[in-house]
């Protein structure tokens, strides 16, 4: 295998873990979910443990047991910190791991998002990414108060709702496009500091982006110079054709949710179809499979999951829930790689239990099989993910022709 064929590992951070009762495990630190110590402990562990990147979940609404509306449960973790700021807090205290916070595209100003992710890239010395996420929830729209989004009751059978969602994804594509153009709005080397001519900048290397769509127009340039990676990594979670097309249009990576090897193969086909249908140019979309993970420890993983399920709301998931040994998981991951997956994003069932096992058991198992792309020196996230590191700037004369 060449380095590019090798597997990359991401970790998806969410509260105490992806099981609704994860916070009740002896190892969990539920009172510290809002303290930086909890997050730095976990992410430094992943950083030292050869995990390539960490994504951080976020939304403008409280966590809920229902997909499109809030609930009033009091027995599960509720409340979270802003993911981008959490990533920024982690940046100077980690060395290698990529940091990919979620930021919604529905209610935000793309200008703010662009400079925030660029700044995360500066603070992390080139390890920043962004997971743009559509917010389809009516309650989140009411938090902001600038637009109405109807309650989504029956997506599959209601064309009006489908139209709203399609519009939200089209808008998300606009937002990513604006953010990417703003990243390019300063050419590299625009800062010249030429004392002789009293010029700090070469003004010809700064560009308005003059983006205009039916939704909004943005002028630019950014107030923040082009970030170290040029284009920080954009990753999107997708479950269906519409979001596959959004990812194919806008992202570098896509996180998908296969339930087994068969669906993993067909999802990969659908992603490639989506790329063709939007006529994607340049690098192919890198595809990562999401897996919820419970690894065997003193207590077998399946027993642990069953016990947690008995505590409150049982875990349900949009993607594969794995229980078993690190060796078995390594085999599954290799099978996904053989299909053409770039890697996996692991969602630990209980962060304080399963992340240490991923680092201590799974990573060595994959390394033993020489399946893992190993990058021990601090490098940019693009390098780590095998993405091209010289990213052409759309505004540089060479490209503009």
């Amino acid at each position: 295998m060449t380095t590019n064929d090798k597997i990359r590992l991401g970790i998806a951070l969410e509260g105490a873990g992806w099981h609704p009762s994860a916070w009740r495990e002896p190892s969990s630190r539920p009172r510290e979910l809002f303290s930086p110590a909890y997050w730095t402990d976990l992410v430094r562990l992943a950083d030292r443990g050869h995990i390539d990147f960490a994504t951080i979940e976020d939304s403008f609404g409280l966590q809920s047991s229902r997909p499109f509306e809030p609930d009033d449960r009091t027995d599960e973790v509720r409340g979270r910190l802003d993911a981008l700021l959490l990533a920024a807090r982690l940046a100077p205290v980690t060395e290698r791991i990529g940091l990919i916070p979620t930021v919604t595209t529905t209610h935000t100003e793309p200008f703010h998002v662009s400079k925030a992710v660029a700044t995360l890239d500066y603070a992390s010395l080139g390890r920043a990414g962004w997971q743009p996420k559509v917010s389809g929830r009516a309650d989140e729209a009411r938090h902001v108060g600038r637009r109405d989004i109807p309650e989504i009751v029956d997506y599959n059978n209601d064309p009006a709702v489908q139209a709203v969602v399609a519009e939200l994804f089209a808008e998300a594509a606009d937002v990513v496009e604006v953010v990417r153009r703003l990243w390019d709005s300063w050419e590299d080397g625009a800062e010249i500091r030429d004392v002789a001519t009293d010029r700090f900048l070469d003004a010809d290397k700064l560009h308005t982006i003059d983006f205009a769509s039916e939704r909004f127009s943005i002028r630019g340039p950014s107030i923040t110079p082009r970030p170290p990676q040029g284009q920080p990594v954009v990753a999107a979670l997708a479950h269906a054709e519409l979001p596959y097309r959004f990812a194919a249009t806008s992202a570098d990576l896509v996180f998908v949710t296969p339930l087994d090897v068969a669906s993993a193969a067909s999802i990969l086909d659908q992603v490639r179809d989506a790329e063709a249908s939007v006529a994607r140019e340049g690098e192919p979309l890198r595809v990562y499979a999401d897996i919820v993970v419970f690894l065997d420890g003193e207590e077998p993983a399946a027993a642990r999951l069953a016990r947690l399920d008995g505590l409150g709301r049982p875990l349900t998931s949009d993607t594969r829930i794995f229980t078993g040994s690190a060796g078995e998981l390594a085999e599954e991951i290799e099978a996904l790689a053989a299909l053409g997956y770039s890697g996996v994003r692991l969602r630990p069932g209980v962060l304080t239990d399963d992340l240490p096992r991923i680092v201590e058991d799974l990573v060595p198992a994959l390394r033993h099989r020489e399946a893992l792309a190993v990058e021990d020196a601090p490098v940019s996230l693009r390098t780590r993910l095998g993405l091209p590191t010289t990213v052409p700037n759309r505004y540089s004369p060479a490209l503009a022709g």
Binding site: S21, P30, R31, F34, L85, Y122, H143, T224
Partner: protein, 456 residues
């Protein structure tokens, strides 16, 4: 015999990235974007027991006649992520960011600021600014939508709404009892509802109560409206007055406005920006100050300083000659765009400048030198310490925001030489008194809106 205890000087450190005062030409000048620059200044200030680290904001690059200024420092990182990253490499110092009330929404900003407060263990602050212009608005989805007169009504309601959100979780909302399975005390955590002229929002806020009750609110702006806004809403004022007696007039005015709003005036601190130049002797320091000013006032900086008032292309006028003989042109499209300070009356400003130039026989360059904000505290370390201490003890202000004239090392000399003298005099603490920014500033936590409502 009784002696009044010395007022403790509040110190803030400012990284002035984008302006004509910070010398990029300085041989030791570093990047104004690299994170190490911010780390250096914040850690130096923390070593000097400063209260907070401060960042300004500008949401569009400055332009002259439609082209980006090329002669001043331009380009800066985003305020909130820089402060969050600094929280990881500092322990005590407050982290205060300038964030605009016009180009943000309360829910999003409240959540970002309160997240910063958690991530820093209670050290966050917000400098509320009200820039509103259509030029900046072109960078935003919503555009330049706000009439100038409305910016403080929006800011006022914005701050009130943000505070309601910050108060929407009770102190003991999170139980997290593993045995009983009770995470929240009840399902009302974060519930809010606000209906007003500017905002109509409701739902549940995602960030629990802050480690310091609420982040600190700072205001910058000096119009009567701005002063009233500050007297009613803020914990700190970032003022432009750093010289007696105008500084004392402002001080007296603000503290009496605070009293009129039923507040303890000691809980509203006034902190102007100020500059310093340190030398081995007075003559050495003055020579340094003269040289710095010369470097700051390049021909183009001088030209632009006048152009932003005249609103005309003045490139044909000799910088070393008399002031332009034409009137300002208020009707033309703005020649200078993207400055935070907007001259309210161009004709009045020009009249005053002509008067000054006549009285002192000044050229254009001479006038620019005269009106440009110069270092107030110039001299040996002992003289700088004296000057600053006298200014504070005489109620010119409660503290100062200091920026070195180059980045990032410009503050080092102050911390190494002046700070120990101030500490020896008893005007500056030798260690932090508490863990939060509020503790260190001596500003109490405001009562929780929710509690007030519940007991009413």
């Amino acid at each position: 015999m009784t002696t009044t205890p010395r007022k403790q000087i509040i110190l803030a450190a400012y990284v002035g990235g984008v302006n004509e005062h910070t010398l990029w030409e300085h041989p030791e000048a570093g990047s104004q974007i690299a994170f190490d620059t911010f780390r250096h200044v914040a850690q130096t200030a923390e070593r000097g027991r400063f209260d907070y680290f401060f960042l300004a904001e500008g949401l569009a690059l400055r332009e002259r006649a439609g082209k980006v200024f090329d002669h001043d420092i331009a380009g800066r990182p985003d305020t909130l992520p820089v402060l969050a990253a600094l929280a990881g490499v500092t322990e005590h110092i407050g982290l205060v960011g300038t964030l605009n009330a016009t180009f943000n929404e309360p829910y999003e900003l409240a959540r970002q600021l309160l997240s910063l407060d958690h991530l820093s263990g209670g050290r966050a602050g917000w400098n509320v600014v009200t820039s509103w212009d259509a030029f900046t608005g072109q960078n935003f989805r919503r555009g330049g939508f706000l009439p100038r007169e409305e910016r403080y009504s929006r800011a006022e309601e914005f701050v009130r709404t943000v505070r309601e959100l910050w108060d929407s979780w009770a102190d003991d909302a999170i139980v997290a009892d593993k045995t009983t399975g009770e995470f929240l005390a009840d399902a009302s955590a974060g519930a809010f509802s606000h209906t007003g002229a500017q905002f109509d929002i409701e739902g549940r806020f995602t960030v629990p109560r802050s480690p310091q009750g609420q982040p600190i609110i700072v205001q910058a702006g000096v119009s009567p409206q701005g002063r009233d806004f500050a007297a009613a809403n803020s914990d700190l004022i970032f003022s432009p007055y750093s010289r007696l007696p105008e500084a004392r007039d402002f001080y007296v005015d603000i503290k009496s406005r605070a009293r009129a709003h039923g507040r303890n005036p000691d809980h509203l601190k006034i902190i102007p920006g100020a500059g310093f130049v340190i030398g081995d002797s007075v003559a050495d320091a003055e020579e340094k100050a003269r040289h710095i000013l010369e470097q700051q006032l390049t021909d183009r900086t001088v030209q632009v300083t006048l152009e932003q008032v005249w609103n005309r292309d003045l490139s044909d006028y000799d910088i070393d000659g008399p002031l332009p003989d034409v009137d300002p042109d208020p009707e033309a499209a703005p020649i200078i765009q993207g400055r935070a300070f907007i001259y309210q009356d161009r004709f009045e400003t020009v009249r005053k400048w002509r008067e000054l130039a006549d009285a002192k026989n000044l050229t254009i360059r001479g006038l620019a030198a005269e009106i440009s904000p110069r270092a107030q505290f110039i001299g040996t370390p002992a003289q700088v310490a004296d000057g600053l201490d006298d200014f504070i003890q005489n109620d010119g202000a409660d503290g100062v925001v200091l920026g070195g004239h180059f980045t990032p090392g410009g503050l080092d000399e102050f911390v190494d030489t002046v700070v120990p003298i101030l500490q020896e005099r008893g005007s500056l603490r030798t260690d932090y008194s508490g863990t939060t920014l509020r503790d260190n500033l001596g500003i109490p936590v405001p009562e929780r809106v929710g509690e007030l409502a519940a007991t009413a």
